[in-house]
């Protein structure tokens, strides 16, 4: 049972991390609470479905095309909807909720309400320490790790990363130093949604694609970023693993209450917040800022 928990928690945590890190990134840099974040994840899954199943493109073409298309679309949404409202945080929040609902209804009209399935990129299973793991899940873990390492390298080894960190540190000073903070925010939106799109593309073959698929991960993702400390990338990563493992432990320790795994994860978030209202890494994050 220990091995099952170890591997299940790691895979689930990897997917959550892809979503939570992107969400946290855009909040940390631009103070945008993007409720539509997981709706972009849903769009990527649908886009991938359309290209792979309906247009019968090869996986190697369909997957990057879906990620690029949704990322480009997110930049368009940012320019048209979010940027004009950026000074009003509550308006941004409401606008992104509206965007998510528009995406949901658009997918319902285009694809109908049926649950859709995407063929696995890799078929077959591996047995590790007595635990059966489909190759697709190993792929998810590898892609999640690669995407997160890539994001870390971009943030700490490139000029764009430096600009993003500077803007996150102090937007006004970054602006005074001659950085185009609007472009930095736009690039951050693209990176953030890019990560969500990658999650949508790699996860879609193991989950079910439907117009409401953005809601459940949204709640989990919000729990993770609040648990880790809003805006803290390290906090999001660790929060994702905590929630992934808490869910796995709940199912194994409490089989009759498996449906409670989300509620247990949220309860832990509440307990952590009662003890540390700033989240696990909130103070460190504030010091960094």
């Amino acid at each position: 049972m220990f091995q099952d928990i170890l591997i299940t928690g790691l895979v689930n945590g990897g997917v959550y991390a892809l979503l939570a890190v992107g969400f946290s990134l855009i909040f940390g840099v631009a103070r945008i609470v993007n409720i539509a974040h997981t709706a972009f994840y849903m769009l990527a899954a649908y886009c991938f479905y359309m290209l792979l199943v309906q247009y019968e493109l090869h996986f190697a073409i369909a997957a990057p095309l879906a990620v690029i298309a949704v990322t480009a679309f997110s930049v368009l949404c940012y320019r048209l909807v979010i940027e004009p409202l950026r000074e009003h945080e509550s308006a941004v929040l409401i606008a992104t909720i509206a965007l998510a609902l528009i995406f949901q209804e658009a997918m319902l009209i285009k694809f109908g309400g049926n649950y859709l399935g995407i063929p696995s990129t890799l078929d077959g299973v591996a047995v590790l320490a007595g635990v059966t793991i489909p190759y697709q899940r190993i792929l998810i873990l590898v892609v999640a790790a690669a995407a997160l390492i890539g994001t870390w390298l971009m943030l700490y080894k490139t000029r764009l990363g430096l600009a993003i960190r500077s803007t996150a540190n102090d937007l006004e000073v970054a602006n005074l130093m001659g950085m185009n903070v609007h472009r930095v925010a736009m690039a951050t939106v693209a990176i953030s949604v890019g990560l969500a799109s990658v999650a949508g593309v790699v996860v879609a073959p193991v989950f079910v694609v439907d117009p409401l698929m953005w809601l459940s991960p949204l709640v989990t993702m919000l729990a993770i970023v609040v648990l880790g400390g809003l805006g803290s990338l390290k906090g999001s990563l660790i929060g994702a693993l905590i929630i992934g493992y808490v869910e796995a432990i709940t199912v194994f320790a409490l089989p009759q209450g498996a449906f409670l795994k989300g509620a247990v994860a949220l309860s832990i978030m509440v307990v952590v917040l009662l003890a540390r209202p700033e989240g696990l890494f909130g103070v460190v994050f504030e010091e960094e800022r």
């Binding site: 099952d4 899940r137 009759q256 449906f259």
Partner: protein
Amino acid sequence: MKMDVVGLWQPSPNATDVTAELSAIDRAGADIVFTLLSGPVGVVVGRQMGERNMKAIAFGINVEAQKDAFWQATAGKANYVATIDTFADVEMTPKTIPFQKAFKARYKKSPIYTAGTYDALHIIKDAIEKAGSTESEKLVPVIEKMSHVGTAGTLEFDKRHDPVWGPGKSTGIAVQWQNGEQVPFWPPNVKGMKPFKMPGK
């Protein structure tokens, strides 16, 4: 035949991942996964059981597995998943196959349990005609005595006004997904039933 209950797992109806539950079911050594599923979790259970090459058979109620779209939704991974259903190309009554064909021709998909409303409407229509009234006080005694040969079975009602279940009355039809086809296999004495298959055979 002796059977042991090795565990009870209750995933959320909206669960998008049941890996942990299936790992635990594997560990418990279950031969049959008796499903009571409605909602997207039915697709997820069917697909992920197939992906894991689980030896256990899934049988019970899986509403999503009643739909034509189930095979596509599971990306063809749900071989051997079985569920109780309401309609199939079998002669539950003389009306079953004509209704099935007419429904498919009109709606381009097979009927599921919701199409049982068709029988319900005919029961009400017959009762209104016999009672000469639409008042419930007059309709109930008529329906209590009624034996209605419907599209999904012969409907009669017991003292508690529940449908009488059993062979020759109303049983439902058990179907199993076999290589993309929904194959009816129970009740066995009905014309059109085919053999149930086990994984690995």
